[in-house]
């Protein structure tokens, strides 16, 4: 990794933490991992005509607990929005998420960096949202199978400020966050089963600049070790390529470890 002293790496992390609620976010179905396909679904999960979501109280309590643990501001009135896009394992044709009024805002988390200093990392927001189902393609010719068991599994999306300056700091942040969620018993933190997933927004800028450079999104960093590894190939590649990158706009969306899908690029309509 080219450590040019003139440049600094700026990292913000988006963690998707699956909440350990008894039932799904908007219906009474179980959230147990690994059940036979489509055995933990109901009319709400399958988005049958006429169904309505009923918010899981336990999830709201877990979100508030998490908010308190990071000294966040808890909104008395928060709001769900729909993010519309077509995808076979998204039964309603929209994801229900929080957009304008997330339940938690302005939190912080303190990490110890490798040189032993304490550092405050801002948490922009935490919001509640639903997970999608799974499309299964392996070993099937000409069509795909859809498993909706995971549909409606509650997630907290925890978005940090771009306060992290190295993969080491990012790793420390993730480790701290995961231990808090585990201590609160709201998330099992199992990265292999996907119950704690991380996307990173990485950019590089000249020391002393305040504006962020071109951003690259790294989806689904599925282990903390991978994120912390000093030789992380993607972080490194980003640095090397930086001087030739355009400075404006967002960089390409990368999919490193495609365990789960990101919304397709054709998503033109915003949340509402």
């Amino acid at each position: 990794m080219a450590h040019d002293p003139l440049y600094e790496t700026v990292i913000g992390l988006e963690v998707h933490a699956q909440m350990r609620t008894q039932s799904k976010i908007f219906c009474g179905c179980s959230t147990t991992f690994g059940a036979e396909a489509n055995t933990q679904i109901c009319p709400v999960c399958a988005a049958l005509p006429g169904v309505l979501p009923v918010l899981n109280t336990e999830l709201v309590q877990m979100a508030i607990k998490t908010g308190l643990a990071i000294q966040g501001k808890i909104r008395e009135r928060s709001e769900f929005s729909r993010k519309n896009y077509f995808y076979p394992d998204l039964p309603a044709g929209y994801q229900i998420s929080q957009f304008e009024l997330p339940i938690i805002e302005q939190g912080e988390l303190h990490v110890v960096t490798d040189d032993g200093n304490k550092k405050k990392i801002g948490i922009t927001r935490i919001h509640m949202e639903v997970d999608a189902g799974k499309s299964l393609h392996e070993g099937i010719q000409g069509f795909s199978w859809i498993d909706l068991n995971r549909t409606g599994t509650p997630l907290l999306e925890i978005v940090s400020e771009p306060d992290l300056r190295s993969s080491q700091e990012a790793g420390a942040y993730l480790k701290k966050l995961r231990s808090i969620l585990r201590y609160l018993q709201v998330c099992d933190g199992n990265m292999e089963e996907g119950s704690f997933r991380c996307d990173a927004n990485v950019s590089v800028r000249k020391q002393g600049q305040t504006r962020l450079g071109t951003r690259t999104e790294l989806k689904n960093l599925n282990s903390i070790r991978r994120c912390r590894c000093p030789g992380n190939p993607t972080l490194g590649r980003h640095l090397e390529h930086h001087p030739s990158h355009a400075r404006q706009g967002r960089g390409p969306r990368l999919s490193l470890f495609p365990r789960t899908r990101s919304p397709p690029a054709g998503d033109s309509s915003g949340p509402h």
Partner: protein, 485 residues
């Protein structure tokens, strides 16, 4: 026995007194449906077997003495309430073979009360339309004149009642879909407060506007049906946690000291003269009943149609995304890939009006236009609601025409969407404000076609609407007129 001459309340006492059995009653209505429905197309599905089974159970309950006011009453249900194991089409090719595996709250309550569901009534496709001409199952004919539309979208529920094919029906109202067809077919139709009746299992068109309600031959009959279906439901978070009053008991034949506001904006110059005259006569009747009439203003009335045609299509475009050919409903033949599957399924499965509204809705929600259209429409909606809020500081009810014209000929407006949209001019704001409104018959035009008037009340004041409508119907006979069939 001629079932078309009965009212729900009369039938209740006949059933209790053993003058008729629920089975005899069901058979009389089913036979009449067989005879008349082919001409007016009010029912999409007739459930003879299910109705007879329910009638038999109703007779047992009547015998055991644990009947409810709805036990044994033959009804029709708009075909957008999911009924377990009974086809629910929403008037669309997309769902023409959809058999729900679950029951809507409204139909569950009706079944539990012992009502006899004769079948599922015709409607505009996905409740989008004001004439019942957009149904995949063909238009409904107005029993008063088969060359004319019955109104929409609950056109089948309205026509079934007017033709004496049921004692009550259930409709839904997003912008006037209960009240407008009620007016055009000479029946009583109530749109309750948003949230008074559960929307669970009711196929969504515009979620912030949709509301189910009773259609009946009188306010008295409507009160019994509303009693059965109203109330909070844990499966609908937008249903209101409020006690349901005993509507039948709150009906009162006088209106002493009740203040009725007459909104000046609801009497445009081009209003059909017969409607204007019918309203003036109705005003006099209300005065005679003891009411005080005062002019009021609802200054944002003219923004109703543009506001509605941003909000409703926006919500519809999202609600209808689930009809993608993947899990249920229509799927195109031999798709070559995912995009082809989506495109052809939706192109072939939806009709023109539904597609028009999906495109409109997708446009106003798209990034870059959201603030200019959807967010602005939400602000205007607030202003419209505030108008009513202000008016209700000085009056108890509002009185308006229900529709600008009487029933128009089939085919008249189907190629002119804007002209069609204007049919709901007087009803739309009530949905935007979430208020209850009722349409009751109050006259006829030169050709003998029914004219309806609308009463509007503050949130959760359905009993005041029903009571005022009942007082009017005690003093008049318009609601008793029936078409020759």
């Amino acid at each position: 026995m001629d079932p078309s001459q009965l009212t729900l309340v009369q039938t209740q006492s006949m059933l209790r007194a053993r003058q008729i059995s629920a089975r005899e009653l069901a058979i009389a209505f089913l036979d009449r449906i067989d005879r008349i429905n082919p001409d007016i197309n009010a029912f999409i599905t007739v459930d003879r077997e299910g109705a007879l089974r329910a009638a038999q159970q109703a007779d047992e309950r009547l015998h055991q003495g644990n009947a409810t006011p709805m036990t044994g009453i033959p009804i029709g249900v708009k075909d957008l309430f999911c009924t377990e194991n009974l086809r629910t089409t929403c008037g669309s090719k997309m769902l023409s073979r959809f058999i729900p595996p679950y029951e809507s709250t409204v139909t569950r309550k009706l079944k539990e009360a012992g009502a006899v569901i004769l079948g599922k009534t015709n409607m505009d496709e996905f409740a989008m339309g004001s004439s019942n001409e957009t149904s995949w199952f063909g238009p409904v004919k107005n029993p008063w004149d088969p060359q004319r539309i019955p109104g929409g979208s609950s056109g089948g529920s309205a026509a079934a009642l007017a033709a004496g094919l049921a004692l009550a029906t259930i409709g839904t109202d997003t912008g006037g879909s209960i009240r407008q067809p009620a007016a055009l077919t000479g029946i009583t139709g109530l749109k309750p407060t948003y949230g008074r009746v559960s929307r669970y299992g009711m196929i969504a068109f515009a979620s912030s506007l949709d509301q189910a309600g009773p259609m009946a031959r009188s306010a008295e009959d409507a009160a019994v049906v509303l009693q059965c279906i109203a109330g909070h439901d844990a499966q609908d978070s937008t249903s209101i946690r409020a006690d349901v009053p005993d509507y039948a008991k709150t009906l009162y034949p006088r209106m002493d000291a009740i203040r009725i506001g007459i909104p000046t904006e609801y009497r445009p110059d081009n209003l059909l003269p017969e409607i204007q005259q019918a309203l003036e006569k109705a005003e006099q009747i209300f005065r005679d009943l003891g009411a005080v009439l005062v002019p009021v203003s609802l200054p944002h009335t003219r923004y109703a149609i543009p506001t509605y045609y941003i909000i409703a299509p926006a919500e519809a475009s999202s609600n209808l995304a689930r009809y993608d050919g993947i899990r249920f409903g229509y799927r195109c033949q031999d798709p070559v890939d995912l995009k082809d599957l989506y495109t052809r399924t939706r192109t072939e499965g939806f009709g023109d009006e539904v597609k028009r509204r999906i495109m409109l809705g997708t446009y106003v929600l798209s990034s870059g236009y959201y603030d200019a259209y959807y967010r602005k429409a939400q602000k205007v909606r607030r202003l419209i609601a505030n108008d009513f809020h202000e008016a209700f500081k000085s009056v108890d009810l509002l009185l308006t025409p229900t529709t600008p014209t009487t029933a128009f000929p089939l085919g008249d407006k189907i190629d002119d969407p804007v002209a069609m949209y204007l049919s709901d001019l007087f009803t739309i704001n009530v949905n935007l404000a979430g208020l209850p409104g009722i349409s009751i018959p109050c006259g006829t035009d030169a050709q003998g076609l029914p004219i309806g008037m609308q009463l509007i009340a503050p949130i959760l004041k359905e009993e005041n609407l029903l009571s005022a409508a009942h007082a009017f119907q005690t003093a008049t006979t318009w609601h008793q007129r029936k078409p020759e069939l």
